[in-house]
């Protein structure tokens, strides 16, 4: 690039500086696929190596900066309602019972029974054995049934067992499957194995949407998060998801940022939009709104719908409802205004 001469300063355009608008941030979804079909592990590794590294300090600074955005009044109310519609209301406990799932589903369909204007949540997320029950409670409502599968949360089982797990959940009526990747294989460099599993699970899903859990808390570095995101997306994931919620480190803003950037890059080269689900440790409306800001600033409004962004959470929903009521009433409300889960 030629150095600018001092004289050119005089010729600086007088049109006002164009600030970044939402249109600018919207991802240009590629019309032609520029990503090769993966046919060997070597090819996959070469593609992953070609990805640029993540500037860890930069990602954390950007996430911290974005989390200081102030969202108030009607915008806050809109954000809260948007977040409610994006919740995957989750119960993944050993002590889950059909009764508990029934109350969860009831709450999912009508989060605030007194107010019909509150949207229903996107999905309920349960273990495979409770899918059929959830399906029967939800009936024809728009709330989807998501099921974790593939030896959740550790992912330590043979591929056959994992595929059986997926097929059973789909047969029982799951609309969405949340699979876990084999972190052991990923971290020891058996990337091809991880990829093959995603491909096989995607095939076993049939019409069900596939969310691939990267368990970012175990992936150690942001570079690994970016690579794992690509492996999942190349393998056919409809969503990539941060965490199981079962390890100490859950979803964080910088990790979500890195994943959203991977999703953006994938859309711009492979021509397919992949959703992102953040899960684990998101308990307050404030946290949720921070994620929405990061989504808007990274991939734009295309991703601000339940088809492209989800929160995996349980207690978050009550806080969203509480904050919504607080906005309406002008006074802080009691936590026990809403049913526990």
């Amino acid at each position: 690039m030629a150095a600018r001469s001092v004289a050119s300063v005089d010729k600086v355009s007088t049109t006002p500086l164009r600030l970044v608008t939402p249109e600018d941030r919207d991802v240009q979804i590629a019309a032609t696929v520029a990503v090769p079909r993966i046919e060997s592990e070597a090819q996959l590794k070469a593609l992953l190596t070609s990805l640029s590294g993540v500037d860890a300090v930069g990602a954390e600074a950007r996430a911290a900066k974005l989390s200081t955005r102030s969202i108030k009044k009607s915008t806050k109310l809109a954000a809260i309602e948007m977040a409610i519609s994006m919740v995957d209301l989750t119960t993944l406990e050993g002590a889950d019972t059909p009764g508990r799932v029934t109350s969860l589903c009831t709450k999912a369909m009508r989060p605030d029974p007194r107010d019909l204007t509150v949207p229903s949540v996107a999905a309920v997320c349960v273990y495979p054995d409770l899918v059929a029950h959830a399906r029967s409670v939800l009936g024809a409502s728009p709330v989807a049934v998501a099921s974790v599968a593939t030896a959740f949360p550790s992912g330590r089982a043979s591929l056959d067992v994992k595929l059986m797990d997926v097929r059973e959940a789909v047969r029982a009526g799951a609309d969405e499957i949340d699979m876990v990747i084999d972190r052991g294989a990923f971290l020891s460099g058996r990337i091809g194995q991880v990829f093959d599993e995603v491909v096989a699970v995607k095939e076993a899903c049939g019409d069900a949407h596939l969310k691939v859990i990267l368990e970012t808390g175990e992936l150690v570095t942001y570079d690994n998060v970016r690579r794992a995101s690509w492996v999942a997306m190349l393998g056919g994931a409809d969503f990539i998801k941060t965490s199981t919620g079962k390890v100490t480190v859950n979803a964080t803003l910088p990790v979500a940022l890195v994943m959203l950037e991977a999703v953006r890059d994938f859309a711009e080269t492979a021509g397919r939009t992949v959703g992102v689900k953040v899960a684990g440790g998101i308990r307050t409306s404030k946290d949720a709104i921070r994620y929405l800001v990061v989504v808007n600033e990274t991939v734009g409004s295309t991703w601000l719908t339940p088809t492209h962004f989800r929160f995996g959470a349980s207690s978050l929903l009550n806080d969203l409802l509480m904050q919504r009521l607080k906005q309406q009433r002008g006074a802080y409300v009691r936590a026990d205004e809403f049913s526990g889960d």
Binding site: R329, G330, A331, Y332, V333, R334, A335, E337
Partner: protein, 284 residues
């Protein structure tokens, strides 16, 4: 002449056992009764009140489930701490209330005695406010006083220490947790007392103190739906009805003081207890 730098004290809020500045970053200047600069004090905000209520709610069941004996010990410990810092307290009372050293010492003595008085009440409330009721049938029937829950206190403006001690310890000794707005113009003795609770085994969140402008914070506290009772002792007279109405919006117990209350009285304790009736079969 010493060349040491001044170590000036920052007067902060007390929320959940910690001493934060106001989340708003604001502070205001407090002067002595004679008008000279006394301190910069945190000017609490709506969100500080919210955080304080969350802390009080979190601490309430544990405080009530502690034995009455234990609650008494904790309150007595506060009296011990106050006794060992009585000169500091007296100095602040003298400056804040504009009284001479002798009067301020008397106020501090009265305040410490009041702490001991409330410490003694913890395991006697049930005997005095509760009872057994005669019923037709083979049952015992008990009336048991239970705390309202989280109590908001708008501390009396003119009595910076004794008024504050009365207002916060009465609900606390009965098993409530408290969010107190300290006297707007004379907050420092209350802040000092808050610091003493940190070394008297007070569980975090049992006493939370927000300093700032009463006119700004009192409506937030009165309207907060997770507050079960409110003491309006320090509210400006013309705002009392309005605050009581805000409290009624979420069915709070509202305590309106009867003029000047210098003598200790169980009236204040009774203001924030409710009666639970328990049936028990005889001979089982």
């Amino acid at each position: 002449m010493s060349d040491r730098l001044d170590v000036r004290k920052t007067y902060k809020l007390l929320i959940n056992g910690a001493f934060p500045r106001s989340e708003s970053g604001r502070s205001y200047e407090v002067t002595s009764a004679k008008g000279s600069f006394l301190a910069n004090v945190a000017q609490g905000s709506r969100k500080d009140v919210r955080d304080a209520v969350t802390a009080a709610r979190g601490a309430q069941s544990k405080w009530w489930n502690a034995t009455a004996y234990n609650r008494g010990q904790v309150l007595y410990r506060l009296a011990e701490m106050a006794e060992s810092r009585r000169d500091e307290l007296a100095q602040h009372v003298a400056l804040a209330d504009g009284v001479n050293a002798r009067t301020s010492q008397k106020t501090v003595s009265a305040s410490i005695d009041r702490m001991v008085w409330y410490a003694g009440w913890t395991d006697k409330i049930a005997q005095v406010l509760g009872g057994t009721n005669p019923v037709a049938g083979p049952f015992f029937n008990f009336s048991i006083p239970v705390p309202s829950g989280v109590v908001g206190v708008i501390s009396v403006q003119e009595s910076s220490l004794l008024g504050f001690v009365d207002a916060v310890l009465a609900p606390i000794c009965a098993g409530n947790t408290v969010v107190a707005l300290a006297s707007e113009a004379r907050p420092t003795p209350a802040v000092l007392l808050g610091e003493m609770t940190a070394s008297s085994d007070f569980p975090a969140g049992v006493l939370n103190i927000v300093t700032g402008f009463t006119g700004e914070l009192a409506p937030v506290l009165a309207a907060h739906e997770d507050v079960d009772g409110i003491d309006l002792a320090g509210a400006a007279l013309e705002t009392v009805d309005e605050l009581a109405a805000l409290g009624a919006g979420s069915i709070k117990r509202v305590y309106r003081p009867l003029g000047k209350e210098d003598d200790p009285s169980i009236r204040r304790v009774r203001a924030f207890v409710e009666t639970s009736t328990v049936w028990h079969t005889i001979g089982q």
